[in-house]
Symmetry: C2
């Protein structure tokens, strides 16, 4: 049986939001098993109060908290008893099959690379984001922050990772992959885009449809959009701000409501040997429940079992 | 008296939209003088039909049209009688004081660098865009496409160019300059952002307020946001798509309506010795009128008379 690990201290509303998520998750998956990392007494109390038992949620004592703004590498090194550090240790030792945290994002990223092996053929893991598209579908944009500077080969690897995720997890058949660029034609773009295009064009393992521009990110045909982590992070955060802007304008519009990223749960780290899911700090119970479901789906889809075939 | 040159063939609705713009402009500025570049007979007919006389608009015959998708360098070289080529020639020879075109953007950019000298201290000219901000103000983002790959010194120059434009043209006192980045603290970002931050921090000629993130582009405090032309172009086009998205959602919201870029007229090329204004292809008469007014303002503000003091 799949054992999902979860950081009980991660996120702005922990541990209550985590426990709320567990309650929602077990209502749908009564026979599942989750391992929680956090201060045992406090967490046990919250779990019992939520009507959950220890066959459902077993706890591993992890008394230290890594704050949202601590330096990732330093925090992981200096806080061996933190919920994130102990969680990654358990994942590495195969005591759990997946790890979820809405805590310090940098720590989750550094931890993924430090504790876990990359999949065969992956030189840099990446994190994608879902982008709500105007036609009701969702696009996948990656990388959104793990690799601020990228090489063409990195983007060519992201093409595979994003395609596999779109296919196996989002259920998109033959996902259309595009390169984010500042012109439609081949040869346009910065040095990275110019050098990446030919690699993607020659890549027979993906369904490359060419360049897309900024205007196509929310409206275009691509299922998977590739960019460096700097550009991707700027787009992600700009997209996030659209929800706040719509709210500020007193709009209750179904499309702009989809920019509330709290509702999506979390994003997976792609390209490492085990499923790791990073939640948004604002995650509520519903978001944690979605992350638990995603972790289960990632484990069952053997998503992380295969490397890059090129 | 200031002589503004305008490409009569530039834009999706030329020459009619250009002539509409001239009519609106002369209604407010009856004694101004504009030089139009285009096929003389056709343009003369449109100008006469609009009730304008040749003391107001004098024409220079330029029978060739550069299409919107032609290769810039090739088109400028192979079409010496195009309205853009002849316009730049007139600007270089000081027969006109400023040049406006809503035609092939690439040609306008290449032309600005080929025909004109950069201002002292400017290694790369840049183009900014206005970004409507939630508090009703407008931010300036640059570069949005002229320099897909930038060096730290380029961004440090853009800081001056953007500040001067914000001050002298947008009327913003002591404009707040920020670096677009993927984290708030110094040391964050890609190699470019990491290397640019210290230059900006030490620059006593600008009012540097630090990093801003994607979420701050439309909502934050910065008056001038600096980024490479790749990231800037992606943001600009994504911002443009917001108007279409709002329209698609049947929203008639004052804030999202401000993302209709046709209304802003055009953007100036910053860092060259003469005012050059590039209009959006979709420009209507109102937009052309605004470009003519902006050209007049740029000439009168001696905006392009000073180089970078560092």
């Amino acid at each position: 049986m799949v054992k999902i690990g979860i950081d009980m201290l991660g996120g702005d509303h922990a541990p209550q939001a985590v426990v709320d998520g567990l309650r929602l998750f077990f209502a749908q998956n009564p026979t599942a098993h989750v391992v929680g990392f956090g201060p045992e007494a406090e967490c046990q109390e919250a779990i019992t109060a939520a009507g959950l038992n220890n066959t459902q949620v077993s706890l591993v004592h992890a008394p230290e908290l890594i704050g949202m703004h601590e330096h990732p590498t330093k925090a992981l090194r200096e806080k061996p008893n933190s919920s994130i550090t102990i969680g990654f240790g358990a994942l590495k030792q195969q005591k759990i099959d997946a790890l979820i945290s809405a805590g310090n994002t940098g720590c989750m990223l550094v931890g993924s690379m430090f504790f876990l092996k990359p999949l065969p053929g992956v030189s840099r893991p990446a994190i994608p984001t879902i982008l709500p598209k105007l036609d009701g579908s969702t696009g996948l944009l990656l990388d959104v922050g793990l690799n601020a500077d990228c090489k063409p080969e990195n983007l060519n690897e992201f093409a595979w990772l994003g395609s596999q995720y779109a296919k196996k997890v989002l259920g998109i058949n033959n996902p259309k992959v595009a390169l984010l660029n500042i012109g439609e034609e081949e040869g346009k773009g910065n040095l990275l885009a110019q050098a990446t295009y030919p690699l993607l064009k020659e890549n027979t393992h993906i369904n490359f449809i060419g360049n897309v521009e900024g205007r196509d990110v929310l409206t275009g045909q691509a299922d998977v959009i590739l960019c460096d982590g700097f550009t991707g992070n700027v787009i992600l955060k700009m997209a996030e701000s659209l929800f706040d802007i719509a709210k500020n304008q007193n709009l209750n519009n179904p499309y702009f409501n989809r920019f509330y990223f709290g509702q999506y749960g979390g994003v997976p780290v792609l390209g490492v040997e085990k499923p790791v899911i990073i939640g948004h700090g604002i995650s509520n119970g519903e978001a944690f429940c979605k992350m638990l479901e995603l972790a289960q789906q990632l484990c069952n889809s053997q998503f992380a079992d295969f490397g890059i075939p090129y």
